[in-house]
């Protein structure tokens, strides 16, 4: 990023971003211009925190009055959830957080915005989720948050594919609990009668695995969302565009989520984007 931002001063407040590794984490570069545009003297600052260093670093920074919040990424999302005073419904259901707001009394409120960020990143196409039949490939951390958000958005059915049957079962349970009824199932091989296809796995981003839905199964009326497509075009996204599907990529999700994280870090209610 080459953007310029206002300088820090002694009264600046800090949104501390923890990760290991940290160098590739985009939150500071993306969120600081949002804080600046909104006139907040608030800065996201990266901290290279290993799993071993996490408890002491968390406890130390969470105690400081000018810490506005903490952002966490790999490998801290579950450990952080266990150290918050309150959790949003999504964070509670998934057992993970990625953004923590520190209130004026030092209490820590944890939220997980991967799912709402995903849905917000769909833009107008989010309307197509209600009553939709959805196939999601990938039932790991991001998949769980997205499954929770899809259930909250009213999808009719959520078919799940993952190499781990346990991950499928856990994610289905999260979606079913959020829906209040049984909507989520292991996907049946070879059946692709879906309105929405979601890639919440790393397929296409890294590794040689091919996406399990063949291009011929993609229909022009489908919405295809590929969160692995971040900074590159994945084969799935390419195929979806060739077939005339509506598409959404990882950048859409990231951009939408960053605005929501910015709002939370700035003290707004969970899920509220910070606007200039």
């Amino acid at each position: 990023m080459t953007d310029l931002i206002p300088n820090l001063d002694g009264s600046s407040r800090i949104y501390a971003v923890f990760g290991d590794p940290i160098a590739q984490v985009q939150t500071p570069a993306l969120i600081n211009p949002l804080f600046a545009a909104a006139g907040r003297n608030l800065f996201a600052v990266p901290f290279h925190v290993t799993a071993a260093a996490f408890p002491a670093t968390w406890d130390a920074l969470a105690a400081l009055p000018n810490i506005a919040g903490i952002g966490v990424t790999v490998p801290h999302k579950i450990a952080a959830a266990q150290r918050c005073d309150t959790l949003t419904d999504t964070a509670q259901a998934v057992g993970a957080v990625n953004s923590i707001q520190r209130d004026g009394e030092g209490r820590l409120h944890g939220a997980l915005f991967d799912g709402v960020g995903f849905v917000a990143g769909l833009g107008d196409a989010a309307d197509r989720l209600r009553n939709a039949r959805v196939l999601m490939v990938g039932a790991g951390g991001a998949g769980r948050a997205i499954a929770h958000a899809l259930a909250a958005a009213g999808v009719a059915r959520l078919d799940l594919m993952d190499l781990s049957p346990q991950s499928i079962a856990d994610t289905a349970a999260i979606a079913n609990a959020a829906a209040g009824q049984e909507i989520a199932f292991p996907a049946e091989g070879g059946r692709f009668d879906h309105d929405v296809i979601v890639n919440a796995s790393p397929i296409g981003l890294k590794g040689d695995a091919r996406f399990p839905v063949p291009e011929a199964a993609l229909e022009p009326g489908m919405l295809v969302a590929d969160i692995a497509a971040l900074g590159k075009i994945t084969p799935l996204l390419e195929a979806a565009r060739r077939r005339g599907c509506a598409t959404s990529d990882g950048h859409d999700m990231l951009t939408a989520q960053i605005a929501i994280i910015a709002g939370f870090a700035a003290g707004l209610p969970a899920g509220t984007a910070l606007v200039a």
Copy 2:
């Protein structure tokens, strides 16, 4: 400050500035433009750290690989010196640090730059210190560091005034040790045969106390340095200018010191200014 600086990213390194209070601390605002001008992806970030929170905050941040160093101000200068792995001669002699460099192996090197910053801030007038007779008012923390630097600069005599006889004795001992001979003494009342007068006390910055050297004793050939004159003109500085003395103020010292702290935070040897 309204300067703009480059944005942070995930690979940014941090110079953590600890203070209580912190809002008035100028280091971040002054030093970040120097880091930027030198092309360093390094940012000074303020942390509101109380004396009670100091040990845990220090230990946590000192362990993180992307912490380049720590800056400390009131009330942490002595406690920080006790937690460093190495100390510069000045820091060792005074028993205090204000800037800590973290090396690639995580070792912490403490320095105290108030004294060298004071001398560097005199500019060409620093040449006048050699063999000079100096009167310094104020033998507290800043005074001790300045006394050490004055001795290193070769002053012939250092007369000390302070409300605390113990502070005078301690500061004299520091100067005498640095000079390798007895050069520092309690000032004799009413004798003002000095080449250089230094105010290292808060007189003129806060409180109603009057500077103990009358205006009539200021001669045009004198150098008058007033570190309390920072963001305001003190009565001493005003009088010195009226009398035609060469002068130096707190801003000179601060500017010179910030460049030296920037160099140390950026990994340069202690005392080396960071240049663009």
